[in-house]
């Protein structure tokens, strides 16, 4: 018994202390996957805030965007033209979703809209396979002038290896969050978006066009999905399996709160770092592979204590 307590509560921390450079390496790996989780969660939050739709299709949007990019490039389209076209594809998708899914279902219960986004998921899987084929593809990382090498950081009496693509991902993610923050804080579209998120009726009464706002958020979520797809594709490859990884956004959302942009980012980082630390230092005790379910366990524990998430709005309902 004492031996078990030692392996669970003492030994991992001793390891962290004695091999600090390795610990930093683990933290960095966790941070990078955390950033990607955060980006997917960000897409969910944007749409949920403005339209109260839980967009199950966010994960497949990531795959679809990355697939379109690689697919277009394979057809001979130059990389940056393909990137531009993909932005247009995400815009077309946003318009189509508003016209064909959201508008006919306005004022329907949330669960109906949720089911509709599941339908959208399967539609996009089918469309992606039909047009670009289902086999895994390699992201056009170097064609997009993204760095592929790595830096070695001599520190703490050892070395930490930083992939340049990971650094690029962190920078691009930070820039994207900053742009979104500026747009939401300063422009009338941002004000309108926050208004729609708060109260549909009041927003309509001051002349905010709901349809436009929906297109704007779905488009923003689409662009976020495209960026996520590029970064994730560069780390592994572009395949439909990515969609399963995108489900990791769920525990992130539980942790951060469904309506909070800072929550999505913090939640993503916590889950990313938490599951890497768990896998490396505690995983061996259970035979490894705990990375795939630890996030859900964290989320489950969190639900018991703070169901609205770290930054979510507290739900108080009169009964």
């Amino acid at each position: 018994m004492g031996g078990l307590l030692h392996t669970v509560l003492v030994d991992p921390f001793v390891q962290m202390w004695t091999l600090p450079d390795f610990f930093v390496q683990v933290l960095w790996e966790g941070l990078v996957s955390g950033i990607l989780y955060a980006l997917i969660a960000l897409g969910f939050v944007l749409i949920f805030k403005a339209s109260a739709v839980f967009n199950f299709a966010q994960g497949i949007m990531v795959v679809f965007a990355a697939l379109s990019l690689v697919g277009l490039h394979r057809l001979g389209v130059p990389a940056f033209v393909a990137l531009g076209l993909c932005v247009l594809i995400m815009l077309a998708l946003a318009v189509a979703v508003e016209r064909l899914v959201l508008r006919p279902l306005v004022n329907q219960p949330d669960i109906i809209l949720f089911m509709a986004t599941i339908g959208l998921t399967y539609f996009l899987i089918g469309l992606g396979e039909l047009v670009f084929g289902g086999e895994p593809k390699v992201m056009i990382t170097s064609e997009l002038l993204l760095p592929t090498g790595s830096y070695v950081w001599e520190t703490l009496g050892g070395r930490v290896i930083l992939q340049q693509i990971d650094i690029a991902a962190a920078v691009i993610a930070a820039a994207m969050v900053a742009v979104l923050a500026v747009v939401f804080q300063r422009t009338k579209i941002g004000r309108a978006l926050r208004a729609v998120a708060d109260d549909h009726q009041a927003a309509l009464s001051v002349g905010i066009a709901l349809e436009t706002i929906w297109v704007v958020v779905w488009f923003a979520a689409g662009v976020v999905a495209l960026a996520t797809g590029i970064m994730w594709g560069a780390r592994s490859d572009v395949s439909f399996a990515l969609q399963i990884v995108a489900l990791k956004a769920l525990p992130v959302l539980v942790l951060g709160g469904l309506t909070s942009v800072p929550g999505a980012i913090m939640g993503g980082l916590i889950i990313g770092i938490g599951e890497k630390l768990g896998e490396i230092y505690w995983g061996g005790l259970l035979g490894g592979g705990i990375e795939s379910w630890l996030a859900y366990l964290i989320a489950l524990a969190f639900l018991l204590v703070r169901p609205q998430g770290l930054f979510g709005e507290r739900i108080i309902e009169r009964v």
């Binding site: 579209i189 208004a195 708060d198 009726q201 309509l204 009464s205 001051v206 002349g207």
Partner: protein, 261 residues
């Protein structure tokens, strides 16, 4: 007595009927609102008063009848059309943007008046900056007028009920409407707050010439403020006329007090 020239008919409700499934909320009601007047809509609970406001600003589409707004006949209004052609409103249960500050709530009322592209707004550059400043100035005047300077930067959700009602009026005023629809602007207020609100409504009407249609339950307020009163009961028009006539109408007295049997 107030000195205002009551103008032509600015809005006419013609033979409007509204049903929800089998329930008739409004049954064949017609009345009009003249420019610069204060028009009250009264009636017992469930009379169809709020439904009527919702028809006027396009939240509800009536099955029959039409709305003539500034000379244009519409089968039904649309919220965007109403807002962009000068109809602003407040809500019975306060519909504010609770997470946003008082200032941002009022600025949201300027949405339709902002013209500059959002790219320039994001950069806070040149004409967009001037435009933002101009709108801010207008909003600050309204804040001044409603005496809410001290809470400008407070998120609306934290304010007490009476102040929220005032902010909601402010957001409607920020739209610089020609017709202002007020759904129970004084519900749940104490006497002092009611007097303040009455004063604001009168000043808006007198100084800006804004036409006002209001729903209110406090009869002394209604009698003092309004030029003409529409009385609804069970979705039907019961009476229509100046306060002194309506208050003596036997049908109105019966609807409100019930008859002794």
């Amino acid at each position: 007595m107030r000195q205002r020239a009551i103008g032509e008919v600015i809005l006419a409700v013609e033979d409007v009927s509204l049903r929800f499934g089998g329930v008739r909320a409004i049954a064949d009601v017609s009345f009009d609102i003249r420019a610069h007047e204060i028009r009250a809509i009264i009636g017992p609970n469930g009379a169809g008063k709020s439904s009527m406001l919702n028809v006027i600003n396009g939240f509800y589409r009536p099955q029959e009848g039409r709305i003539v707004w500034k000379g244009q006949a519409h089968r039904a209004m649309r919220p965007y059309l109403a807002a962009s052609t000068g109809i602003a409103r407040t809500f019975q249960n306060i519909a504010l943007f609770k997470g946003m500050t008082v200032l941002d709530n009022l600025m949201s009322g300027r949405t339709l008046k902002m013209r500059r592209g959002f790219f320039w707004q994001a950069l806070r550059y040149g004409p967009a900056l001037e435009e933002e400043i101009a709108h801010r100035r207008r909003v600050e005047e309204i804040i001044d007028f409603l005496e809410i300077e001290h809470i400008r930067k407070v998120p609306v959700g934290r304010l007490p009920y009476g102040l929220q009602k005032r902010v909601e009026l402010g957001r409607a005023l920020a739209m610089e409407p020609e017709l202002l629809l007020l759904d129970e602007p004084m519900a749940g207020m104490n006497l002092e707050e009611k007097e303040d609100m009455s004063r604001y409504i009168l000043e808006v009407n007198e100084q800006l010439g804004t036409t006002i249609a209001l729903i209110e339950h406090d009869m002394s307020v209604v009698m003092d403020l309004s030029d003409r009163i529409v009385v609804l009961d069970h979705g039907q028009l019961l009476a229509d006329g100046p306060p002194e006539v309506v208050s003596r109408d036997p049908a109105v007295i019966e609807a409100y007090l019930g008859v002794a049997h």
